[in-house]
Amino acid sequence: MSAMSVLAPISGRRRRKDKVARALLLTATLIALVPLVLVIYYLLKRGLGAISWHFFTSDPTGAFIGDPGGIKSAILGTIEMVALATLISVPIGIGVALYLVEYGRDSKFASVVRYFVDVMTGVPSIVFGLFVYIVLVIGSLGSGYAAWKGAIALSLLMLPVITRSSEVVLLLVPDSLREAALALGAPRWRIVFRIVLPSALPGLVTGSLLAVARAAGETAPLLFTAAIVFGTSFNLSDRMNSMPIQIFNDVGQASDVLVQRAWGAALTLVVMVLLLTLVARLVARRSRFT
């Protein structure tokens, strides 16, 4: 009781400062959200008009006058290339993460690998595209644009992200589980495939889905590996269209219908990415360890 009277009451000036600071911080947070609101607003305002059944089922025609066509080849192209990139980067990424967790917790080699994978997450995606361009498109190993080369560039982008997030998830699997299994006589490989991976699965899926969402939106790596093409193609050794490239191409146009197609495609892409992110979060919530 007496201690309370020793403490000086908070002066009006300090109280005001507190209120002002709080208000400023709240305002800053709201300011941070303004771009999000504006982007979504304009996507809907200018993109919804382009959306139609025709939009999703026809290829861009490239015709200068008349029907600009839809974005079918772009959607399919993105799905194909991202799927291939996922097939490449997810097993390798999880594999490297497994190495770091199961065999490399103390080793110097593993910390070097970990460090460089970390460093790779910061590399701009255009540098990856450039690298694939040098080595695979105009280099001695091959020539010409091809969808699989674009997929490789995307997988280079996804790889460090998947590795790091998988490592975090795998570390969360309690060692007690591993030790119990070892004590019961289980060999290492069985522990990995029957205990560690299944327990970490939701987290691994989340990490992979987030990487997929990111790759789906990437333009730079595809600029000089898969190029642009109007027709739908299922041939991975040929050029292939993709959503970000289609949008990038349509942005600089003066024709209103092409610009509207860009907005429609942007809306579709954002919805795709948001869905993937949402699914990733839902899966994460089911994880036993996060």
Partner: protein, 342 residues
């Protein structure tokens, strides 16, 4: 700690009951070998990456000399002269604008969300801020070209006229310019700076905060005294990660910066960045080895810049995370997972 695989065998083999038959150890060896090979493969890939970039960039670097390439103010494709100073300056200017605008807001957002937000609002607001990262870079570019540029032009012109005594501010507003590029970059780095800052702020010992409050500090004073000083290193690291992002961003920037190989006199003039020049000119350079080498050299400069910034950033963030139970992995995981599309 990794426990080595010396286990009891269920099937007796006549030898020590603790020994497993050679045949059964093979899958273990195979697994270990495959995984180690993968990890080593990553290192080899990175080394190959670096070496190949240097080799391909060499024609340009050796012709102009590294210093001249990086610091000559003349990027003239038609005369085959490649001095990258306008690009480097453009990259730095747009990143500086991005940091000046984006970091204070991101940190303020992080502080609000960790210290002041009512519990029920915290989750949804956090998700909303992170959604900024889900928007692909080309969509930001599209929005920048058709919304930001036209809508902000009058305001930019007014600002330029009223404040033209400030250096680098002028009334002549090009449509796409440094400022718009910097603004969009600020929006793009916001989620990552905010996410890392939130991680860092969460590690402040509760005891410190409660002590400040117990001594009669207001909420803001508590933040000022107990939270911010503690998190300084980590927040600096977060800002540097944002810088790394800003330096490497290509598509959104190339759509709104005007792609002019000059050093603009004001922030409302057009410019160019290292990343944008690669995206724009590689097509022309397909058969021009010197031009191609110059673009790859620009890519190399970009690569080295982002590497340096990221290495420094991680050092800061790890230092700020040292006291957390989970160790550095938690903070670095946030870094890894927080990468938005470029």
């Amino acid at each position: 700690m990794a426990v080595e695989a010396t286990t009891t065998s269920m099937a007796g083999s006549g030898r020590s009951p603790l020994e497993r038959p050679l045949r059964a150890r093979f899958p273990d060896r195979l697994l270990r070998w495959v995984l180690t090979a993968l990890a080593a493969g990553i290192l080899l890939l990175i080394a190959f990456f670096f070496v190949r970039l240097i080799v391909e960039a060499n024609p340009a670097l050796s012709k102009f000399g590294v210093l001249h390439f990086a610091f000559d103010n003349d990027w003239d494709v038609s005369r085959s002269i490649y001095g990258a100073l306008p690009l480097v300056v453009g990259t730095l200017i747009t990143s500086a604008i991005a940091l000046l605008i984006g970091v204070p807001i991101a940190v303020a957002t992080a502080v609000y969300l960790t210290e002041l937000a009512p519990r029920r609002v915290r989750g949804p607001l956090t998700v909303l801020v992170e959604l900024l990262a889900a928007v692909p870079s080309v969509v930001y570019g599209l929005w920048g070209v058709f919304v930001l540029i036209p809508k902000l032009k009058p305001a930019e012109a007014w600002f330029g006229r009223t404040f033209d005594f400030i250096p680098f501010v002028g009334a002549d507003v090009a449509g796409p310019n440094y400022f718009i590029a910097g603004l969009i970059l600020a929006i793009m780095i916001l989620p990552i700076v905010s996410a890392i800052s939130r991680e860092v702020l969460a590690t402040v010992p509760v005891g410190d905060k409660e002590a400040a409050l117990a001594l009669g500090a207001t909420r803001w004073e508590m933040i000022r005294i107990a939270v911010l000083p503690y998190s300084r290193a980590g927040i600096t690291g977060a800002a540097m990660l944002g810088l790394g992002r800003a330096i490497g961003e290509t598509i959104a920037v190339t759509l709104v910066i005007g792609n002019a190989p000059q050093i603009g006199g004001t922030i409302f003039e057009q410019g160019y960045t290292l990343a944008a020049v690669i995206a724009n000119e590689f097509g022309e350079a397909a058969n021009n080895p010197l031009h191609r080498a110059a673009l790859i050299a620009a890519g190399l400069v970009l690569f080295v810049l982002t590497l340096l910034v990221n290495v420094l950033a991680r050092a800061f963030v790890v230092r700020g995370q040292r006291k957390r139970a989970g160790g550095p992995a938690q903070g670095q995981a946030a870094i890894a997972a927080g990468g938005p599309p470029v």
